[in-house]
Symmetry: C2
Subunit: 370 residues, 2 copies
């Protein structure tokens, strides 16, 4: 191992640029994890642990409550030509840092790293103990998730009363998250040469009612803990046919159902099985929804402290995030971080740097009880 990069922690924008410029596409997070570990290990008020390319740092101040601040270190692949190194553009409050990871989610990671350095030092005593969790493999299949691995290897390190995940929310509070389930719905037929098609049964034609059902489906909107969630049911893939002269004997429609936290995963699956009764239905991927959890006392303090600075009101989170994984661990969690989620994964990914300070200041105010 070479010496890890030294991260500049005194300026939020410099820090964000530095951690973005250390490329960390999923599976290649080691260099960034090394740099993060080195920075945190330099802080005498933190106890640091490493698990694969995840880094966990904790205060041990003996507080009766513990807050978890979490973010993933990995990004989706770069564009071609690469959208790194980062570049700063614009003036004043409109300054934006462009590049892969600036939104999803190194801006949130930068805010949390800056707080990790600051809170716990003399004069910046937090009201709760703090656990920082920076982890690998969030942008890939669930089986590789660094957070899932941590929960299996060291559940003690993840313990806490409330968690904030620094996913991009444009500095809004987004509570809970939708669940997501994917199923393959398959029709069967009988293959035949297309010149004698009456000898076969066309499986693609047999999928007509499935597409008609999806096309006519009206997704519900559901209020959960005061937030309105909007569901969605979509074909995200379809495939059938093996050759230009063969009546196909199978056709598979891949359906993605995004469901509100009012449904359990089992209920969501049951809903799909009822909708597609009579067809082969195979679940290929599933993650539960998470309730907003804003009725928790720590959450209420958090919401009050943030809204005092940002205005606005809590919103539902539509995308699936690791708040659901914290919810499974019994830890209420919300999303709160700089950056516009619609620019996540985008070729023109960029963050308004002014949002970094907004998020840091709101979190600091809450955590020091100002």
């Amino acid at each position: 191992m070479t010496d890890p990069a030294t991260l500049p922690s005194s300026d939020l924008v410099d820090l964000l640029a530095a951690i973005c410029d250390i490329e960390s596409v999923s599976g290649d997070e080691a260099a960034l994890a090394d740099a993060v570990e080195a920075l945190l290990s330099d802080q005498p008020h933190l106890e640091v642990h490493r698990d694969g390319d995840a880094v966990v740092a904790r205060t041990t101040l003996g507080r009766d409550r513990r807050v978890v601040l979490a973010g993933h270190l990995d990004t989706v692949p770069l564009t071609d030509p690469p959208n790194l190194p980062t570049r700063l553009a614009g003036e004043g409050d409109d300054r934006e840092l462009w590049g892969r990871g600036t939104v999803d989610m190194k801006a949130g990671v930068a805010v949390m790293l800056a707080l990790a350095v600051e809170l716990g030092r003399p004069g910046a005593e937090p009201v709760a103990d703090l656990t920082y969790v920076f982890y690998d493999h969030e942008e890939v299949e669930e089986s590789k998730s660094g957070l899932k691995r941590l929960a299996r290897n060291r559940p003690d390190l993840l313990a806490g009363d409330f968690a904030v995940l620094g996913e991009p929310t444009s500095a809004d509070i987004e509570g809970g998250c939708q669940g997501t389930i994917r199923v393959d719905v398959t029709t069967r037929g009988v293959a035949a040469h297309s010149a004698r098609s009456w000898r076969g049964e066309n499986a693609i034609h047999a999928a007509a009612p499935i597409l008609a059902l999806l096309s006519g489906y009206e997704a519900v909107q559901v209020e959960v803990d005061g937030l309105l969630y909007r569901e969605g049911l979509n074909a995200v893939g379809i495939r059938g046919g093996i050759a230009g002269n063969v009546v196909p004997d199978a056709c598979t429609v891949t359906v993605n159902y995004r469901f509100a936290p009012s449904r359990t995963l089992a209920e969501a699956e049951q809903h799909l099985r009822e909708l597609f009764d009579g067809y082969e239905v195979v679940v290929t991927d599933a993650s539960p929804a998470a309730r907003p959890g804003l009725d928790d006392p720590l959450a209420a303090e958090f919401v009050a402290a943030v809204l005092d600075r940002t205005g606005g009101a809590p919103k539902p989170k539509y995308g699936w995030t690791d708040v659901a994984r914290f919810a499974e661990l019994g830890i209420p969690a919300v999303n709160f971080g700089p950056g516009d989620a619609l620019l996540a994964h985008a070729d023109d990914e960029r963050v308004r740097v002014a949002e970094l300070a907004v998020c840091r200041d709101a979190l600091r105010a809450w955590l020091v009880g100002a």
Copy 2:
């Protein structure tokens, strides 16, 4: 080049086994073409030409009519494990030769090679001049067709008054052939993250009416020159979707229309454009149908000679064959050859060897005016 294999022309079954055992998957016909060229060049009554891996042999007896006997040398790929070398199984009239190419269409080629050696020798004078055409690249895309190349390079060699193509027909006469046209019918939508699907328009859902139309389509049956053709309209492929969390912005249904010789290619395309009015329709492949052509005098003599030996009645050909290419050249053509077309391309491809002699004898009787 090594010396070409010597083909045993005195026994039909030996000859068929020999030309099957020289593998000739499309693109790899050279060794078989060499052997065929060597055999035909040994016959003093034939004038032999080579074009790529096509071999043309002609008698020049000064007859006022010329008959073309044609067959392709290539096969589809072997099975795994390979269905070659050939093996003979069964007893007496039930003997079958198993292996790739035995049906499609080296059985027909063997019959024609045997006739090429025999007819034109003293004591076996044909009533018409004869042209034998053995060509490459029939089982692959039309642009590679050896017969198409010959028609371009040496149309004079293909000239004739009537053509018999030795495709497998179980020794029945199959007149004409269906046309075939393939189109891609595409729907467009607007991509969005599936967690916020209301921001998008789902192109797969938009394909529902296309599948409903195909599912409900009733194909016609059409009589042409006394033969009944049955059409077919089928989705042979469908694809859409780029990722499990993206509302797809495009979906393409590949449709194959097999049409009767009562329609021109232009009329078939027009029919599809009317059916799929409002969608993007792109023709990806098209071959015209061929009328049976059994009203031609030479055809009538041929039919009489064959039916005198085999019984039965002429039938329509459903699959597309190169008779359509001869029809385009203005040469009436029929399919007539040993082997069950349903076993063409099959893993258990095999031919009843008794059919070889039936076909040879019927063709010989017609050609010598017996």
